[in-house]
Symmetry: D2
């Protein structure tokens, strides 16, 4: 009897690419608000998701240093269960309600990639870094105070995909007013069998359900963001026309479920 929530399955189930839910996540985050061409966002929306004309092309570029654990003390095995991530959220509508959609996302860990594809996050591998804040005082420590500067970047296959910098100005009293939209993703798994390639095996809109979502130490400030054109990638098509505020904070949540919003095969 094979065990394992994900492949590879084995008699003990230890080798699985990711342990079974619940999945618990804690992070430090840098997020940069920006506006791109609304037509470029519309062109990225999967069937069923509509443009949000009031958003005027608003999007957020996120960088995250994550620590993960399931139910077996995984956080004490950081070589397997820490990872870094960068993703984009663009503002859209589903059934007339404001949502975020995630069109691009990069991680540096295969367990994170597996969980992403299972949820609907279109993850690829990347190399992601963000400035950290340290408790011991020093010119290298980047304390959480007015004037501190943080940088972040994501690269894939040795090409720089995005670079951001922010400078802290003030604490944010209520981050749920900033990060206030649910995130919709597309769960998709193709066919390779000849004659069936236009019929994916899985094609759903899902909700990225975040249990016990908390934001801590949230600061905002000024921001810079570039998304250069890179051969073999399309992300620069939603490069910033104007950059808004930058945010730096700690965030945590757990994943125990995946609501299916649309099933295009049902």
């Amino acid at each position: 009897m094979l065990k394992g929530y994900m492949v590879p399955q084995s008699p003990e189930g230890k080798s699985a690419a990711t342990p079974a839910p619940p999945w618990h996540y804690a992070s430090y985050c840098i997020a940069v608000e920006y506006w791109t061409d609304p037509a470029a966002i519309s062109a990225l929306l999967p069937p069923g998701v509509e443009p949000d004309s009031e958003a005027k092309g608003r999007a957020f570029f996120w960088f995250l240093d994550w620590q993960f654990t399931a139910s077996d003390d995984e956080l004490t095995d950081p070589a397997r269960y820490q990872y870094r991530e960068a993703f984009l959220l663009v503002e859209a509508r589903l059934d007339g309600k404001p949502v975020n959609l995630c069109p691009y996302i990069f991680v540096d860990n295969d367990a994170a990639l597996a969980r992403g594809w299972i949820q609907g996050y279109p993850k690829k591998l990347g190399s992601i870094f963000q400035t950290r804040s340290f408790a011991a005082p020093n010119p290298a420590a980047a304390p959480i105070v007015k004037g501190s500067r943080f940088g972040a970047s994501v690269s894939a296959h040795g090409e720089r995909m995005a670079t951001a910098r922010i400078q802290l100005e003030e604490p944010v009293a209520d981050p749920t007013k900033v990060f206030n939209r649910p995130t919709v993703i597309r769960r998709y798994f193709p066919q390779l069998t000849a004659g069936l390639r236009d019929k994916p095996a899985v094609n759903q809109l899902t909700l990225s359900k975040m249990d016990d979502l908390t934001f801590t130490q949230v600061w905002s400030g000024s921001a810079e963001l570039t998304i250069p054109e890179v051969a073999g990638e399309d992300m620069h098509r939603i490069a910033p026309l104007r950059v808004g505020k930058g945010y730096r904070f700690s965030m945590a949540y757990s994943v125990t479920d995946l609501p299916i919003l649309r099933d295009y095969l049902a």
Copy 2:
């Protein structure tokens, strides 16, 4: 209209984790024949695949340096389309006929991981190396001659998963007599939705169909292989009890189809 065989899909389709088939592959390979506990192989077989009592626990451990191209000159972008791989094939039966089954496989590239999951190869990320042979003569060149020694290894998350060494003895006249079984894999994609976790979205046995399969410069010789126990992995349960011959060769094939042998959801 979104394009892309695989996520992430975009208006131009360039960002997709893998281009659409046909997929063309060329490689150098080191393969080591060995025998493990037949009960350990039986314990790894998915439903529908039966033990091969005549195989007496026979398996092959493969290491491969791959170059990939689809239809758009991908081979000239080696930072994206070269990758290294290590996998195990264990001997089994399907409908009474001899087959190989692939229970564990590691690659160092996300496009290769995506193609693997789409076919049914249970890929995880690893760091894989094999001794290469160079045309210019030198003590470092490892020419394809009697007595040349080749090493290979695979690591994951900084743990050594397997190490092999072979020493060439003689050319192999007919490699199709050595590598003579079709490979069966399990295409599997889980559910995360609460209440549906024991009902995978995809659960099939598939055939790894290799068009225009060629073997070139095939040599055999003596071999060593170790598969140590590693925390958080099960692969050592099929570690060698006895090691047979080692092989070194070039191999190429193309993928254009995926025959579905069983569909457990149909």
Copy 3:
């Protein structure tokens, strides 16, 4: 006129492997106290450094997540200037006074490797991870409280060199009583010229001078540590016979000078 503190030098000096001092460092650290065979430590001491018979084989294994800056806002370029490190300090004597000596050290960044060799730290490349503590509460957050568990590991060339775990018990009132020895290192640069290989170009004992050294949030607790034997490495010869306390803390300092304690070429 070429510029650059270190090679490669260029007209602008931007390409140098490391910027000029002062060098500022901030970190989170996990350190594990242990005792090994005193004879194995004695065998590792360079000329001029004597065994510390009172130390009875005491050593510390450190894991560090570092952020670095020089004078040009380097900390906002984390892809270049963050790095992870693992090293060993063994207790010894110099001129009869208690010191630490660093026989092995691993980093994941070339600028850190360059600075290390310039000081006398015998750095090699490795892959290093430690559990982090996050502000947002969650089972993955590892808060700095009694009972929290942290893991750490270092690998090189895909081989696990050391693994540690600690569990926090209580704050440490005065960390300078724990980390109370100066660290001596051997600055060494060999010759390649035929006939001169036994005459290194640089051969000195130096002091790792740490300006404005601070320790913050220092906790101690129970600890585990393993240093397995790995082909092609000698570090297991100072593997633990007994493990003492584990520590987790933030540390920072600056480097502006390198006192030369002995110069064997002068």
Copy 4:
């Protein structure tokens, strides 16, 4: 008694960052001839090396897949002893004679970096790839025939430093007429001690002496090369104004000595 040609030294000498000479190297290479601004080359020359006015800004950008061995079968441990490299050679004069100078070089392995610094190659870490040629025929195989296309790239810290492509046209009868200049490098090791920073500990011009140098399977063809501007690097200052021929070949040599051409401290 400590052993080891390079740090870290230990009683067994196994941990040393590189084994002792002789050092044997075999490779596949892609080299692209180009011309840049002669003034940009002059600005890069160290004291004692003069511009070559007849060269008119000629340079070569090289990409190399290397296999290394010393005297202990290192080539069978490819996880430690294979590496990839990219470097630039610019044409100059020393004592009136034509030479190459190496101003920039990237490798993906610490043993290679150590050997480079010991010789005078100003190595930094990078991620380097080149299209390979495989014996088994397939659209992915890139055979050594007229019309075959090869690509190559080098990245550092997630930034693309250079990208090349070549298309094979014809075999080269005598490669020693193309690659006909000796290579001069600057062996340099700085001081950190306060007050001594303008007095490097080592400052020499050396000759990259290559014993038993062989070229095999040398083809030339058309070529493309880009060296984009990257924040924090100066290499783009010698970007191509015009690109010449591309070359693809196997090369091997051994290193047993380092002639010192100038010693600025003597």
